[in-house]
Amino acid sequence: MDNMTIIAAVSIFCAAFTTGFGCLGPALAEGRAVATALTSLAQQPDASATITRTLFVGLAMIESTAIYCFVLSMILIFANPFWNHVIAQTVGK
């Protein structure tokens, strides 16, 4: 395997694993958050406005970790700096 193949293979695998494992944690966390919010909504329907707002903000916070992983994957696939470097070297030869 030459350098180009190694870079391509590692980038693709890393992109897949980043999104895969990066979504695993936030998914579990969001499940817990929503379950707790539903329980407290059932116990105190009067506080629904506050609970919903806090839930939304919290969900966005949790989800942003998954979004970071997704952005990283997108960079690895579509805007990979190492890949561009290799391409530039190959063309420059």
Binding site: A49, T50, R53, F56, V57, A60, E63, S64, I67, Y68, F70, V71, M74, I75, F78, A79
Partner: protein, 231 residues
């Protein structure tokens, strides 16, 4: 495949580029400013009102109520800044129903600029409310050891604000683009509707988080509780 509307370039002169992000940002600004100016040109205070005035009043009072709920007791002071943030991000994502339009918030430079506005606004409102000494004291709040961590959190939450909005808007466009190649016609429309919902939620979250940060910077230190009366 494009990662952001920065890469669509309409016109270029040497170093200066006129890309889609700038064009659509200015377009949105013109629509928002001209629309508000047109509607508020003749406001009425009696029972007869135009529909547009009703619409704007609903929007403004809703934003004001949300800001108040976060814990800022005088929402009028912060309405200009937070309301503008919300309206810009919301219209940027709602206009995606127009064909050929790319949301400017799908570019990291736009979202970073918005986040930098929040980074500057938080100390500004904090200093206006508590004075320089009071604001700077909030950095060493529990103990002096927390000083570096407080500064790191200022920077990291700015970055998080920017990347969150960018990632959400970019992923919406990206998913629709990928789905168009796999399952054309029906499914991308469903994802577009989902993208509208995501855009509204993100606009709400962006402004609410900014409000929360401002509320954390402006809240006065609580007065010590009265000592219990001795019996």
């Amino acid at each position: 495949m494009r990662l952001s509307p920065d890469e669509i370039i309409f016109w270029q002169l040497g170093f200066f580029k006129l890309n889609a992000t700038i064009v659509f940002t200015w377009g949105l600004m013109v629509v928002l400013v001209a629309g508000s100016k047109l509607i508020t040109r003749k406001l009425s205070t009696d029972l007869q009102r135009t529909r547009w005035q009703n619409l704007l009043e609903i929007v403004v009072t809703a934003i004001e109520k949300q800001i108040k709920d976060v814990g800022l007791s005088e929402p009028r002071k912060y309405l200009g800044f937070l309301g503008t943030l919300f309206l810009f991000v919301a219209t940027a994502s709602l206009c995606t129903v127009i064909p050929g339009y790319e949301p400017p918030t799908g570019s990291l430079s736009t979202t970073m600029a918005l986040a930098l506005c929040v980074l500057v606004a938080v100390p500004f409102f904090g200093i206006v409310d508590q004075g320089i000494g009071g604001y700077l004291k909030s950095y060493v709040e529990p103990t002096v050891i927390m000083l570096p961590f407080n500064i790191i959190s200022e920077i990291s939450r700015t970055l998080a604000l920017a990347v969150r909005l960018f990632g959400n808007m970019m992923s919406g466009a990206m998913i629709i683009g990928i789905l168009l190649t796999i399952t054309p016609f029906i499914f991308p429309i469903v994802m577009t509707v989902l993208g509208l919902l995501t855009g509204m939620v993100q606009a709400y979250i962006f402004s609410i988080l900014a409000a929360v940060y401002i509320a954390a910077a402006t809240c006065k230190p609580k007065a010590k509780p009265e000592p219990a009366p001795k019996i």
